[in-house]
Symmetry: C2
Subunit: 242 residues, 2 copies
DNA sequence: GAGTGGTCTAGACCACGTA
DNA sequence: ACGTGGTCTAGACCACTCA
């Protein structure tokens, strides 16, 4: 029996990586904060500098932390200049990449079967429903519907969204201490419903790119379900395969 | 003047990585072959084992090589069991992932302005045009059009494609020594033309997912332009963001 | 100048695959 | 039994940021 290869214990650098993620989940350091230096962390975890470094390598690759030579290691944040729309892969044919945001509504609701499954909620648990548009100039390009567990986003409302100058993920991070680490998306081509067509200013039945996203915070806990409808007449979804 | 941070020379592990890629491009080792051991490579490049290891780490992350503990380091190949359809992100709603291939045509043609730009060809340089379907059971799901520079794929024809049991990328690798390393894709939602609708067995005007891909071999040389039309009624394009 | 991350080395020991 | 990659350590020196 060859056995399907297993180690008794996870490697030390992996254990350390998990300890750091736990500390982040517990709020020991906030997005933007500096972590202790590699030497200090090595002391804290009773490992060599090289082993701690390896753990930080993995976290850097996953965009959980960010290193700046000479300055330190920092918790990644969606409020940083370059990280706006980090998860939005839509690019204009002419290369443009910025957007204007326009809130349609923000209201309380109950989890559907679908959102409960995606977000690991109990049936009919309270959620907050957000609908908004992204526009390039006057032209709407994206219609987003979001579902957020109320227990993580208690108090989120239209006024708060309209008052906030940054992206939604930056708002979630600053006001609710929920930092998005990674996301999974399912893409489909669909026909514009009458409702979507009206909001996006296109003809009913026009093809739209449907992007269903589940976003996860530290420790792979799902905290957002989002469905985007992208108008891809003058934009495309950019992806890299390797 | 702070200067925008630059090093005089690339780090040693980066130089070594490039030397290994050059050797791969020159055909020193073929897909599936074992590379020399880390110790031997260290001797060859006059570096420590740790530095060579770091170079191999990067190549492993990029799926250029593959490590098997106890066995060695091997050149990645599309002919390996798990690597069929490595670049195809289409998943059925029920989780199925395999396909049947059906060739529509394979013929010689001239590069268009678009394909010449994407593949870095001279205007009207000879290319080979392939059209094929991917089916799940009897249902067509993908219509692919490929454009390949004839100078890299000289002799490719229908008979050869039909006789080959594996994927196209495996064929390219085995018969033409062209291994695809990475690819860039642009996704859009489009309406099915009459021609595409007929081949895919859907109504004209139905929304389809258009996937335009440029695939690169060692050294970031583009060697394939492909346009896929995916029917996403019972399938979706899976993507992971981080 | 003090402190941080980035590179590179040398060596020990372990886990695994192959024959 | 041997050779391979995988983990972990200790230490040197460099490049950079910031006060």
């Amino acid at each position: 029996m060859p056995k399907t290869s297993a180690r008794a214990t996870a490697p030390l650098y992996e254990q350390i990586r998990q300890l750091i993620v736990s500390a982040l989940a517990a709020g020991e350091w906030k997005p933007g904060d500096a972590l202790p230096s590699e030497a200090h962390l090595a002391q804290r975890f009773g490992a060599s500098a090289g082993t701690v470094r390896r753990a930080l390598d993995e976290l850097t690759a996953a965009h959980v932390v960010e290193r700046r030579q000479g300055a330190g290691t920092f918790v990644a944040t969606h409020t940083a200049p370059g990280n706006s729309y980090r998860f939005l892969r839509l690019v204009a044919d002419d290369g443009a990449t910025g957007f204007r945001r326009e809130l349609v509504h923000c209201r309380r609701a109950r989890a559907t079967a679908e959102s409960a499954r995606a977000l690991h909620l109990r049936p009919a648990e309270p959620v907050i429903e957000v609908r908004r548009l992204l526009l390039r100039g006057a032209r709407p390009v994206v219609l987003d519907d979001l579902w957020l567990p109320e227990r993580h986003f208690d108090g989120l409302d239209s006024a708060q969204i309209n008052a906030y100058p940054g992206t939604l993920y930056a708002l979630f991070e600053e006001r609710f201490r929920v930092h998005m680490v990674r996301a999974e998306e399912k893409l489909r081509a669909v026909s514009a419903t009458a409702e979507a067509a009206a909001l996006l200013g296109v003809a009913e039945g026009r093809p739209l790119l449907s992007v269903e996203r589940v976003a996860y915070t530290y420790g792979d806990r799902p905290v957002e379900l989002r469905r985007g409808l992208y108008c891809t007449d003058a934009d495309f979804y950019r992806n890299e395969l390797n």
